[in-house]
Symmetry: D5
Subunit: 91 residues, 10 copies
């Protein structure tokens, strides 16, 4: 499983509907509307690197209301939880 944290700024007036739209995108497990420097943080959990590439360079480009994104791809995950089983990615 490949994880990535995607920092997103929405276009003016679009935070709420954008968050809902993103949460329905396959491969995105959670979307947080946040306080601070960015509007939304999306967590991607996908089966492999090709899927992450598809998600970031193609899928996110098609979604309306995104102003800009910055993807932080995870090199390693440290957790007491078995995230892979919990999110049943790629099954």
């Amino acid at each position: 499983m490949i994880n990535a944290i995607i920092l997103i700024n929405a276009e003016k007036g679009a935070i709420q509907p954008l968050a809902e739209r993103l949460a329905e995108v396959p491969g995105i497990s959670e979307v947080y509307s946040t306080c601070g420097r960015v509007d939304l943080v999306a967590v991607a959990r996908v089966a492999d690197f090709e899927a992450l590439s598809q998600l970031v360079t193609v899928r996110l480009n098609e979604i309306e209301g995104i102003h800009d994104t910055e993807t932080l791809s995870a090199l390693k995950v440290h957790s007491r939880h078995d995230l892979e089983t919990m999110f049943s990615v790629g099954l």
Copy 2:
């Protein structure tokens, strides 16, 4: 449940051990070592706002190897998963 995404830069040479230490802190469910502008992204999932305050203003201040942090507290979560049950917060 209150979620927060914490962007963390480690002190030089400290990324790996810091990630392991953070992953054991109660309230932090996952730590990602990431490519890009920050070294680590920690996800906090705690029972209430008081617990987040304690985690960010007290606990993280005591951990060695942190250079700086920026906490993005989540106002709302959008997910097809029942994150609260999955991470059994506050039990």
Copy 3:
């Protein structure tokens, strides 16, 4: 009571009317037009986290004249004043 400090830049020519409009939004107790890097600082004092979420992600998005906002949610308040009683939040 949840407090948040909201740093706001107004659209060109909109500082004064925007400040007046913001000051009437329920949940916002004070709006300061300020010198320096931001045009306005609004202080939100709401009953709970859900109300802050509603205020920041929905209400502020509907108000005209805002260029961008950055919300600093308060984890803890230190004051010799009893702010909660003073601002009678959520009554």
Copy 4:
């Protein structure tokens, strides 16, 4: 009454004790430990401009644990509350 919002970054490990020390400084009515780009936000409410000058250029310089500050002095306050009476400034 002159109001100012002071954005403060604490030195490493100093957030909590600094917040407590600041809250006791005459002229500072509230200190918020916040999520986001700054560690603390202090609100100054003083009798006149001379007092703000004294607070920012002298008093804050003597307090330990401050890394840097940025003062946003308020040009005008918009509020449905009578802040001046509430905070009994200058008495």
Copy 5:
């Protein structure tokens, strides 16, 4: 007398006429077109804080050709000159 240094970026092609227009605004004693990160620096010298507020939040908003401004309000002045008499403010 309240002094403030106002850093101003002009809209494209507007530096010269903007400088002339600003120099005629009551309360602005000098306008410098400068090398470096900003196009113009205006010095405001007004009778009291209310006048500065009026100047920055109302008057400057009405002037054409301003791209953005950042006001640095002076807390204290150190000078071997008697600036107040020299600029006869508020007379």
Copy 6:
């Protein structure tokens, strides 16, 4: 007369004494301790460009308590005042 606006950040704890020291430097007519992104703004008014060069590259380098400076040299001055006579530069 050559004018320059010098934005100055002081070293920790040094704002007040630095302002006083700067105000005594020949060629500096005024020093403002300011709210906002910089600690001090000094205005230099000197007889010619050579004097400004000497002031910025030599004199300011010898003064204790300066963290960093950014000099905005004035290309042109717009003012209803006769600044040159008022500040009697080069006498």
Copy 7:
């Protein structure tokens, strides 16, 4: 052989087609769509400095979908590979 690493941000929705178009430009050997602060990284490997100049100041200016670029020209290459033969530049 002159190498240069070109950091590129694409216009909204243009990442994928832009990457394909860039990869066909003579002199550009590889285009990477990347996570992080930039959308694309192109590696230019050309016969001489004149060719790099032509590529950056003329060719890239004609390609649609580029928002901005930052060219890092290589002063020296350190590699166990014989890059010049491998990429047969300028033949």
Copy 8:
């Protein structure tokens, strides 16, 4: 002779023609199209400060294709060459 280094970003697609136009402006001795954070660096060598002022605040404002400029005016020149004679300024 007054020298100034002018950092220039061109509007999209305009680097090459802008460089040529700038190189013909009296007072600008050289224009470099550069790799890195800026598109062009122009070197101004003029007879006096008034000429620099005219060049930067009037002439450059009339030229098409400039996105933004930042002028670094030279306080002093250190060179084994006699630049003034070489560039015969003010003749």
Copy 9:
């Protein structure tokens, strides 16, 4: 094969020896000393994501002379060259 472009700033005086040391690290195929905002650009070409993680979070942390790094991991490569065969990764 996973590619990553690593932007590196060296510690003062360390550019040349650091470039040589990096070029010998398994997984790093090329190191460019560059003009511009960063000192060095290293290209990593490794067999899989685990190897990139090991390289960035462990190996680079052990190398002397690095001030800071920013890793841009490649989601997709566009090239007329068969990079994988050329660099014989993972053999």
Copy 10:
């Protein structure tokens, strides 16, 4: 001839002596102490790219008093002057 504009910040107190030291380095034709965001601008005019590489990655690293540098290498020069003859580079 290869030209490069090198933006330099000096260490505290070192501007003047650093400028003099740099002006004596072979390959550097002029050093300007400047107003604005950088302390010094050096212009390098060398015979070929290898010489620029040697200058930037080796020579400048050995000079005391430099805080940081950013090299803008010139891709093309536009000038009514014959700079190559004037500066007799590579003789």
